[in-house]
């Protein structure tokens, strides 16, 4: 092999024909899939943004531990638990939001993308169940503290009203999250069905 052979190889390379119809067919298929995957990516980004936003509520809950201790004079242990609850839920939501954001639904093969969407749904249920359990562990002693306050039952009923409003907001948010993950899963399954 010498310089001349290399040049011949180069000429041969340049004259290599490419089947345009085959390539165009592939290009069209990829474009259709890419468009659909982009839709999935949009849903995932929105879901991630919403989880990151809701994680800020954790900071607010943490801060509320201060008036709980200094104004209502609830036991210190309960106030620390309240603060830690905010920290844990806020962190978990933030980590989950970042996890969703970092999934490359465009680049992943459809089957793997569906697996990820299923995992997201499982993680959503786990996060919800964990939040409810931890919340109940906090609300029951908190309710008892409010019930026994010397100021009377107005603080307790105020707390109940606040809890009901919070619960309504929480349910609507969770429903939205589950709707989003279902839409993501369906969008990906539709791509797979079309392949």
């Amino acid at each position: 092999m010498d310089e001349l052979t290399l040049e011949q190889l180069k000429k041969s390379w340049q004259s290599t024909s490419v089947s345009e119809s085959r390539l165009e067919e592939t290009a069209e298929r990829v474009r259709a899939v890419a468009k659909k995957k982009r839709k999935s990516m949009g849903i995932a980004r929105k879901m991630s943004r919403d989880y990151l936003r809701i994680s800020l509520l954790g900071v607010i809950v943490m801060l509320l531990a201060l008036p709980l201790y200094y104004v209502i004079e609830a036991p210190l242990g309960l106030c620390i638990f309240y603060g830690i609850f905010g920290l844990i839920m806020g962190s978990l939501n933030a980590v989950f939001g970042l996890y969703i954001r970092n999934i490359d639904f465009m680049g992943l093969p459809v089957v793997q993308a569906i697996d990820k969407a299923l995992l997201i749904r499982r993680m959503q249920w786990t996060l919800l169940a964990f939040g409810i359990c931890l919340g109940l562990c906090l609300l029951i002693p908190l309710g008892m503290v409010f019930w026994d306050l010397p100021e009377g039952r107005s603080v307790f009923w105020g707390g109940v009203a606040g809890g009901i409003i919070g619960l309504a907001i929480g349910i609507s948010k969770e429903r939205k999250f589950f709707r989003q993950s279902r839409a993501l899963l369906r969008a990906l399954q539709a791509i797979k069905a079309g392949e």
């Binding site: 180069k10 390379w13 340049q14 085959r22 165009e24 890419a34």
Partner: protein, 174 residues
Amino acid sequence: MKRKQDAVRTARYEELTRQYGGLMAKVCYLYAGPGASFEDLYQETLINLWLGLESYRGEAKASTWIYRLALNTCITWHRKNDRHTGSGMTDVEAAFGLSDTAMDPGARAEQLEQLQMLHSMIADLNPIDKAIITLWLDERPYEEISAVTGLSKNNVGVRLTRIKNQLIEKGKTL
């Protein structure tokens, strides 16, 4: 508004794949080779083309931009799939029209052999050197090779001479 943007993007994508589909396929072949899934890499390049069109404003010449995009995809793929095994020659034969039954069998065999030889020769090169030789094979000027790879023109010249010597040596052993 969004629909109009999508239509413009689709038209641009179709135009670029028609014009440069062959070029992208050839670049993908050099990186994927006969033992790897050429089709997967080609599809990944097309996905990146579709995604890249969102931000492409025509600052660089279309061919330069396409080369850069294809080579970047191939280099990333090469790093991720060092020991990749795939579907063999079938995809490549079809994409390069080598499975065309109307083609003279002798010419088909010769073209296939040359493709394989070329791939074997450059298989051991590092991804950047592979990019340089790919552009040289397509007779791109030094300015364009420099623009695609980010190396200076002098550096491109020096590396190209070294790569060619390496290939000649390798060719002797094949």
